[in-house]
């Protein structure tokens, strides 16, 4: 399997606060990694390290050939808390088009084909009718859908979703997982989620992040293992989730 990104002995944080210690993980082309962990455990920080938004204090992040910057964005990113200004004058279509902007380019103009592509993505997410609307006039869930469109419109090699299931309804959630499954046939996905039950059903492997990272090469994880990984998360099996996925205490 092709490695696309690798973190070697990465220690990272903010200023003098060290949040992540000694993280090692390799991401491969067809990975679907679920990232779980308690609030403040460092999941978003890990995402930012992978994106290059935070430089590691020690250790390194290696981007392999397929991730080298070219004309297209190689990583699609859906932020957890977007700090966008909700009244900023920009149309929904333009927000999606920003996912097609070229790295390191000052001039970005979009062809008819690219605009059509953006509309196509909006259509597949069920919000084409919002294309010309002002972004600030959308509901929270609609905004989340637009951000997903922005993240996937460039067909990125790696898609990173930081808690995509906040704000959205059930319909969108199942659509989302369907979309992700299809995408995962060619591309890698990293998804941060608190919904351990649902996430385990879709992902192929699990990364437990609580100041350290423990990588679990399977989507079946037991409460004992979580405890051993120092990952204080409760497994709650959902009705729709087959019980074989989650090994509960008494099984």
């Amino acid at each position: 399997m092709d490695k696309i990104i690798e973190l070697q002995n990465v220690t990272a944080g903010y200023g003098e606060d060290i949040i992540l210690r000694n993280v090692n993980i390799a991401i491969h082309r067809n990975d679907f990694i679920g990232v779980i962990g308690p609030n403040g455990g460092g999941k978003t920080t890990l995402v930012k390290v992978i994106l290059g938004l935070i430089k590691p204090i020690t250790g390194k992040v290696i981007y392999y050939d397929s991730m080298k910057e070219g004309k297209q964005q190689k990583i699609g990113y859906l932020p957890q808390n977007s700090d966008t200004d909700k009244v900023f004058p920009i149309s929904v279509l333009d927000v999606v088009l920003s996912g097609l902007a070229q790295p390191n380019r000052l001039i970005n103009r979009f062809s008819k084909a690219q605009k059509a592509k953006a509309r196509e993505i909006l259509e597949s997410t069920g919000i084409l009718h919002l294309a010309d609307k002002n972004f600030g006039e959308l509901s929270g869930g609609e905004m989340q859908r637009v951000f997903l469109c922005r993240a996937i419109v460039s067909d990125p090699e790696l898609l990173i979703l930081d808690e995509p299931n906040t704000f959205v309804d059930n319909k969108f959630e199942s659509d989302l997982y369907h979309t992700l499954k299809k995408l995962n046939e060619h591309k890698a996905i990293i998804m941060v989620s608190h919904d351990v039950g649902t996430i385990a059903y879709y992902v192929k492997s699990i990364a437990c992040v609580n100041r350290e990272l423990h990588y679990h090469q399977s989507n079946i994880i037991s409460q004992e293992q979580l405890d051993a990984y120092n990952c204080p998360i409760q497994i709650i099996a959902h009705g729709s989730v087959p019980h074989t996925i989650l090994k509960e205490h008494n099984e």
């Binding site: 200023g15 994106l51 290059g52 938004l53 910057e69 964005q73 990583i75 990113y77 932020p79 977007s82 700090d83 966008t84 200004d85 900023f88 004058p89 920009i90 149309s91 333009d94 927000v95 088009l97 920003s98 996912g99 902007a101 790295p103 390191n104 380019r105 000052l106 001039i107 970005n108 103009r109 979009f110 002002n134 972004f135 600030g136 006039e137 922005r150």
Partner: protein
């Protein structure tokens, strides 16, 4: 009493008209950026910091506008750098540079023997006495800003909308941000002669706020701001000519009146539309 037509025969009046046009273009575009990004306070800081340069210009006997240019660009870079790279709060940095510039300006102006009444033209502006050189600079700046916004528009828009995402996908965030803040500083400096230090911030925000009442699109907001700014400047210009009051104040006066009229007009329009929908 002279008619408006005969006014045009005066050279100074044509110059004033050109100044109004260039001021509307530069302030219209840059102001739309300032208002959308909510960096009005930063712009206020840059404006007042530039006063330090004016004082130094007076004292050492060089063109105060050159001093203002150096001070405003340096303070703009200072605010951009310190608020991003240090953990100082942005508003505190602005407040420090704001008052530092004013302090330096006041000290040097008082040290200058017999400082002139010309100082008033920097504080309040006088569109009727804008020099040819200033006009040429305003024209160049207007062309520069228009060109930059036409060519880099989407990149500017994306970075202004979501800087963190722009960084994540490796858009040239630093380059654009420093370019934009420089344009803001230059726009302020070259419009000081038109409306004055105290009022330049209004030319950067009031037309945009009026435009924002009618549109939520950045492009249209820019166009409307330019038109509204121009209308306000012309009206203010005439008022200042006939009443012999500072042009800057007259221009802002008209713009604020226009703001209230637009707001009332918009409210009436909205309630009419609502009534139509309910019926």
């Amino acid at each position: 009493m002279e008619t408006i037509i005969t006014l045009f025969e005066y050279r100074f009046f044509t110059n004033a008209l050109l100044a109004a046009l260039f001021a509307s273009i530069t302030c219209g575009i840059t102001g739309a950026y300032i208002v959308s990004r909510r960096i009005v306070f930063i712009s206020g800081g840059i404006t007042h910091a530039s006063f330090g340069g004016i004082g130094i210009g007076y004292f050492f006997g060089f063109n105060p506008i050159v001093g203002a240019m150096i001070f405003s660009v340096l303070s703009a870079f200072g605010i951009e750098y310190m608020s991003k790279k240090t953990n100082l709060r942005e508003d505190s940095v602005i407040a420090i540079l704001w008052s530092f510039g004013m302090a330096v300006g006041i000290i040097f102006i008082f040290l200058t023997p017999g400082y002139s009444a010309n100082l008033m033209s920097f504080l309040f502006g006088n569109i009727l006495t804008v020099t040819k050189l200033n006009l040429v600079f305003l024209l160049i700046l207007a062309l520069l800003i228009t060109g930059i916004f036409l060519v880099f528009f989407k990149t500017i828009l994306f970075i202004a909308f979501d800087e963190q995402y722009a960084r994540a996908v490796k858009l040239p965030v630093e380059t654009i941000n420093y370019l934009m803040i420089t344009l803001v500083a230059l726009t302020i400096v070259f419009n000081i002669k038109v409306v004055g230090i105290i009022l330049v911030i209004s030319l950067l925000t009031i037309p945009q706020t009026i435009a924002n009442i009618f549109t939520k699109k950045f492009e249209i907001m820019i166009w409307l701001s330019i038109i509204i700014g121009f209308l306000g400047s012309i009206s203010g210009l005439l008022l200042s000519y006939y009443l012999n009051v500072p042009s800057g104040a007259a221009i802002i006066f008209f713009l604020v009146i226009l703001f209230f009229i637009s707001k009332i007009f918009r409210n009436i329009l909205t309630s009419l539309r609502i009534r139509k929908q309910i019926q």
